[in-house]
């Protein structure tokens, strides 16, 4: 069973995402971080297989966190969950090593699709 880390500075965004994630994944395999830096710490400690990552966050944003997380574990899957749907933003996160870029918010159906892809 895979472990999941959900990273977003908004509590609402985390709740929304976790709610749909719980339909497919056991709650104890889901961890939460509120910015890039916390995500890094939890990546080291909990060794998640999939990281959901927001882009605009205080302390350390998504762009900075992607290569650092990849550095810890090159096989980790990073799903960028962002409001920024500009083509350039997508290109940028893929270039940094993200596995997937999806538009916020993530409801149940979208989560199912994501889990099938990764």
């Amino acid at each position: 069973m895979r472990k999941f880390l959900v990273t977003d500075d908004s509590k609402l965004a985390r709740r929304t995402l976790i709610k749909s994630l719980k339909e497919y994944i056991l709650e104890e395999r889901i961890f939460e971080a509120s910015n890039g830096f916390e995500a890094l710490k939890l990546t080291l400690k909990e060794k998640p297989d999939v990281v959901f990552l927001d882009l605009t966050m205080p302390v350390m944003d998504g762009y900075e966190a992607i290569p650092k997380i990849k550095n810890i574990n090159p096989d980790i899957k990073i799903v960028v969950v962002s409001a920024d749907i500009q083509e350039k933003a997508k290109e940028k996160v893929y270039a940094l090593g993200a596995t997937l870029h999806v538009q916020k918010p993530i409801k149940s159906d979208k989560m199912k699709a994501i889990l099938e892809v990764i």
């Binding site: 908004s10 509590k11 609402l12 409001a83 920024d84 749907i85 500009q86 538009q103 916020k104």
Partner: protein
């Protein structure tokens, strides 16, 4: 009016901020397409202000000679948007869009205001699952020194101000958009935000 001062709880602010973030993401994508440029997104700032405090905020912006446009939107969620863009950014926008006349530049700024307002408010209402119908927005340009005389502003006692930066770094175009919504709409918004919150528990 002081005694009726509406406040937003941390949770309500968080929900609104996140919804706004999503709405703003889509709005920016439209503007980015329109300008064929890439914008960096920032976290929207949410405050409940009295009109006096709002004018003070505007006043600080006025000093750097901003262009200022407003647009009204109506429906269950209604209010007004105010868009500020400074002289330098306006010039850069003109260069970027190969605009030569002052009137075409004004037109482009009004268009930016319209795109941001419609797409922000439409998205925001949609995210809250509301049946809000948007009537045609009216748009006009206000000379900076007359901001306080804008008649519709006199109707507000306090406003939820959602301000966020429009930031095209490469083109050096920076703007600030305020979504102002007044008393009844604030209550409506609060109710909706709490429904969203309850659904998550």
């Amino acid at each position: 009016m002081e005694e009726n001062k509406i406040t937003l709880s941390e949770d309500e602010k968080d929900v609104l901020q996140e919804l706004m973030n999503i709405a703003y993401g889509s709005a920016t994508a439209v503007v980015a397409d329109m300008l064929d440029a890439f914008a960096s997104l920032s976290i929207p700032n949410i405050q409940v202000l009295t009109m006096h405090e709002l004018f003070e905020t505007f006043d600080k912006l006025k000093n750097s000679s901003y262009f200022f446009a407003t647009q009204a939107f109506s429906g269950e969620f209604n209010g007004e948007s105010a868009f500020f863009i400074n002289e330098e950014s306006a010039q850069n926008l003109a260069t970027h869009l190969e605009i030569e006349s002052k009137e075409d530049l004004d037109d482009a700024i009004l268009e930016l205001t319209n795109v941001l307002t419609s797409s922000l408010t439409t998205q925001l209402a949609a995210e809250m699952g509301s049946e809000v119908i948007f009537s045609l927005p009216s748009i006009f340009k206000v000379p900076l020194q007359e901001i306080e005389n804008v008649e519709t502003f006199q109707l507000y006692s306090q406003v939820i101000v959602i301000d966020t930066d429009l930031n095209f770094q490469d083109q050096k175009i920076h703007g600030k958009i305020f979504i102002l919504t007044k008393d009844e709409s604030i209550q409506w918004l609060k109710t909706k935000l709490n429904i969203i919150l309850e659904q998550l528990i």
